[in-house]
């Protein structure tokens, strides 16, 4: 079996002391360091996105009342309150619109994507398929630094006159494409530019992931021995590669409409406002799976490991992800049932949407099948993986309401939608915590405090549900999304108590995260040293030191003898059987 040239090049000088500080920590080409860079950037952005959510919740519970600690934002967005003194102010609807626009933008493009795809994709793919690095290490480094520039451009938008983008993360034209309609100037322009830059970064990452998985698998790592999390990241990379050019083109069109004076989306001069929605959601629906597929992969990995049991229906799990990859291109119209597109199309998109629910159902049942008959260990990763199964089930089922076109007429653009996509997309946070608690020892060489981690996981699950479940009720009551002050509507007065309840729950959810941040940083510097395989798992990364050195494998590349989920196998006395353990001479002579 031949080994790829790139991998060989690395193996000859697997010594970290050869590179200086800059090459090691800043402009690193090591996939593990790049993964860590994405990790900390997205954690930082999560703090910003989370604080914005807290500000929105304050506004919705106590509309137009002064809020502590925000007067520094200054006019014209926050009005000083003379009575309350220093540090108090109330903000207006322009700022509120920026808040929800940027909360979503940050959480989707700067938290979930860089964490699940950027951090864990980079860190795990070479380790789990048995490669020394990515196929294109320099491109990989570039991918992070391009992302970093995109992040700076996005953050710069907060400081320009007119404020940041305020047309929603969906940026429906012509609201987003004509500056006069929002009053936002360069904020929206920078928003477009930043997403184009970040998209370029994702393209580089995707090319790397696809190539690496196809070409650089260790000897014996056949397609159906690849861990499911790698399957999910590989399919995600393909979706990104195909979807991002559409978004990039559409963003360029909005930018040109705004800055150069073209009229792609201006109806008065022959443009078509609804074209943006078609382009955006043609990207946007695959994007939803870009966000959720890695979470599904992580969940499969962890449920199997902590049930000490093979994954139930490995092939079905892989094929259901492949079918999602195909179907996700033909469901975008379900975001547009009421947009004014031909209602006949509504019927077609309803049926395709119903069909794409099937693979998700298969995955849920197979997860249940995995824990059935297991020997469950309730460590922090397992608790979070189980929480993800629960929230994903709720999010998937609530999606059936809006897939049904007649019901969508009523609940479209209400808090029912907000509840639904937070159960799906914000629910990914459980897969994220599961992944962090699970791979932290491998990433940083130390263990996180388990008791704090379990307390954090359970409290997060409770407050998550207390925050997002009542939003279904608001939606059923007709509460529109993206409104600044619900008290402006007579029919929403009776629902205001629920808004207050949600806000208190959201504050509790936010405060709970201090446990996580504290645990993370304390463990980073003072955690117990991690052994190679603290969870007694099977996949290849656990056969390496924690953390693995440059080039990953000190000696020759591992040889893979079996699939990744041989837990409780009758072949061995222990309840796990690593992929690279050779059980005897002659059995796998072909790979030796």
């Amino acid at each position: 079996m031949s080994t790829p040239i790139v991998a060989d090049a690395h193996s000859e000088h697997a010594h970290e002391h050869h590179v200086g500080f800059i090459r090691h920590y800043v402009f690193s080409t090591d996939h593990k360091m790049i993964g860590r860079q994405f990790f900390f950037t997205s954690l930082f952005m999560m703090v910003i996105g989370g604080l914005m959510a807290m500000m929105m919740r304050h506004e919705l519970a106590w509309p137009e009342e002064p809020m502590p600690f925000i007067s520094w934002i200054g006019e014209p967005f926050v009005f000083a309150d003379a009575d309350k003194g220093l540090g108090y102010g109330a903000f207006g609807p322009e700022f509120y619109n920026s808040l929800f626009t940027m909360h979503a933008t940050i959480m989707i493009f700067f938290v979930v994507m860089p964490m699940m795809v950027g951090a864990f994709g980079n860190f795990l793919i070479p380790l789990m398929i048995g490669a020394r690095d990515m196929a294109f290490p320099v491109l990989n480094m570039l991918s992070y630094w391009v992302f970093f520039v995109g992040t700076l451009v996005m953050l710069a938008g907060f400081f320009v006159p007119g404020g940041h983008a305020a047309a929603g993360w969906t940026a429906y034209t012509p609201l987003s494409s004509v500056p006069e309609y929002t009053g936002v100037g360069w904020g929206q322009n920078l928003w477009c530019l930043s997403l184009i830059i970040v998209g370029a970064s994702s393209m580089m990452g995707s090319i790397n992931y696809i190539t690496t998985v196809v070409n650089m698998r260790a000897p014996g790592m056949s397609w159906f021995r690849i861990p499911l999390v790698i399957w999910s990241l590989w399919i995600t990379a393909i979706l990104l590669l195909l979807a991002l050019p559409v978004l990039t083109s559409a963003l360029a069109m909005v930018f040109l409409d705004r800055v150069v004076g073209t009229s792609f989306f201006k109806s008065l001069s022959g443009g078509e406002p609804i074209l943006w929605q078609h382009l955006f959601w043609f990207f946007g629906h695959p994007e939803v799976y870009v966000l959720v597929l890695p979470a599904m992969g992580v969940t499969s990995e962890i449920l199997s490991t902590f049930s000490r049991k093979p994954i139930f229906g490995y092939h079905a799990m892989a094929y259901s992800m492949i079918s999602i990859a195909f179907l996700s291109w033909v469901v975008w119209g379900h975001h547009m049932f009421l947009s004014g597109m031909n209602p006949v199309l509504g019927n077609a998109f309803m049926i395709s949407t119903m069909v794409i629910a099937v693979p998700s159902a298969i995955k849920t049942f197979n997860w249940l099948g995995t824990i059935w008959g297991g020997n469950l260990r309730f460590s922090a990763p397992m608790i979070n993986a189980l929480a993800f199964v629960s929230t994903f089930t709720i999010g998937g089922l609530s999606g059936i309401f809006m897939a049904s076109t007649p019901v969508d007429i009523y609940i479209h653009d209400t808090y029912y939608i907000v509840a639904h996509f937070h159960y799906v997309v914000a629910g990914i946070i459980f897969a994220m915590f599961a992944a962090i608690y699970y791979w932290f020892p491998k990433m940083y060489g130390r263990r996180m405090n388990e008791s704090v981690a379990i307390a954090h996981s359970l409290l997060t699950f409770v407050f998550f549900n207390m925050t997002f479940f009542p939003m279904h009720i608001l939606g059923v009551g007709g509460h529109m999304r993206r409104i600044y002050n619900p008290m402006q509507y007579d029919f929403l007065h009776d629902l205001q108590g629920i808004n207050v309840f949600i806000t208190y729950s959201a504050f509790a959810l936010g405060l709970t995260q201090l446990l996580f941040v504290g645990n993370l940083f304390a463990s980073l510097f003072a955690g117990k040293r991690a052994t190679n395989n603290p969870w007694e798992a099977n996949t290849l990364e656990w056969s390496l030191p924690s953390p693995p050195g440059h080039g990953n494998w000190p000696g020759p590349l591992p040889v893979v003898h079996r699939g990744p989920y041989e837990y409780s196998s009758p072949e061995v006395a222990e309840d796990y059987l690593p992929q690279d353990r050779d059980l005897g001479p002659g059995v796998h002579a072909a790979h030796a």
Partner: protein, 233 residues
């Protein structure tokens, strides 16, 4: 949860609510199925040193069952939903009672065609955020927008439809109960989106005749558009 639905007052709202309830019970059952199994497995199979997990890679029969059954249910639900969607959005019941609603940042302009039932003639009347219609009559709403995308939403009618600049979209409703209903905008349309709302006043036939007589005193009340004689038959 369903008791939070606002009262339905339109002819097709009952069909939408019925489907809402049906999906609610269907998904409620699926939710219980998954969560009862999840919680039961968590208790039944919690770890112990003396036990060893079952060594199983799956069960093809089971997997086929839980692929095919959801597939049939989902597609059947789509087929079951289709006529109700067609009824609201595809097939416009005939009516000669029409009104033009033009959305703009941040108001609804409601243009009444007047006794000649033609838009853009001398007897048109335009009211801001004030839509008046008779009860038990099919109303055609010609939706337009002057600037950005807005969405015409009346929660009690179970009707929502985006208004697009550069196009006219005809929506319809028939209300069965007189009263005043809030008419918010449901699509983000700028800083004044929150608070962009109007009122739909649904009149009894007698009240509606009085209202149109006040608007068009010179016209014969019986010839006024949408008087009950011309309404939904």
């Amino acid at each position: 949860m369903m008791s939070w639905l606002p009262e339905n007052v339109s002819t097709y709202g009952g069909q939408i609510d019925g489907l809402f309830y049906f999906i609610y019970y269907l998904t409620g059952a699926a939710f219980l199925l998954v969560h009862v199994a999840l919680i039961a497995f968590i208790f039944l199979y919690r770890g112990g040193d003396s036990r060893r997990a079952v060594y199983s890679h799956g069960n093809t029969t089971l997997e086929i069952i839980w692929t095919v059954i959801p597939a049939i249910i989902f597609v059947a639900l789509g087929i079951y939903s289709k006529p109700r969607w067609d009824n609201v959005k595809r097939f416009l019941p005939p009516s000669n009672h029409q009104v033009r609603v033009t959305a703009k940042q941040f108001n609804w302009d409601v243009q009444y065609p007047g006794p000649d039932n033609q838009f853009d003639t001398g007897d048109d009347v335009t009211l801001e955020n004030d839509l008046n219609v008779p009860v038990n009559t099919v109303i055609h709403v010609h939706l337009r927008s002057k600037d950005v995308i807005h969405s015409f939403f009346v929660p009690q009618f179970r009707l929502k439809q985006d208004a697009l600049p550069g196009r006219e979209i005809v929506a319809w409703f028939e209300v069965t109960k007189p009263g005043k209903y809030e008419m918010p905008c449901a699509e983000l349309c700028g800083f004044g989106h929150s608070g962009m709302k109007g009122w739909v006043t649904v009149h009894t036939p007698a009240d509606y005749d009085t209202w149109s007589h006040e608007r068009w005193p010179q016209a014969n009340a019986a010839a006024a558009p949408g008087s009950t004689a011309q309404g939904h038959g």
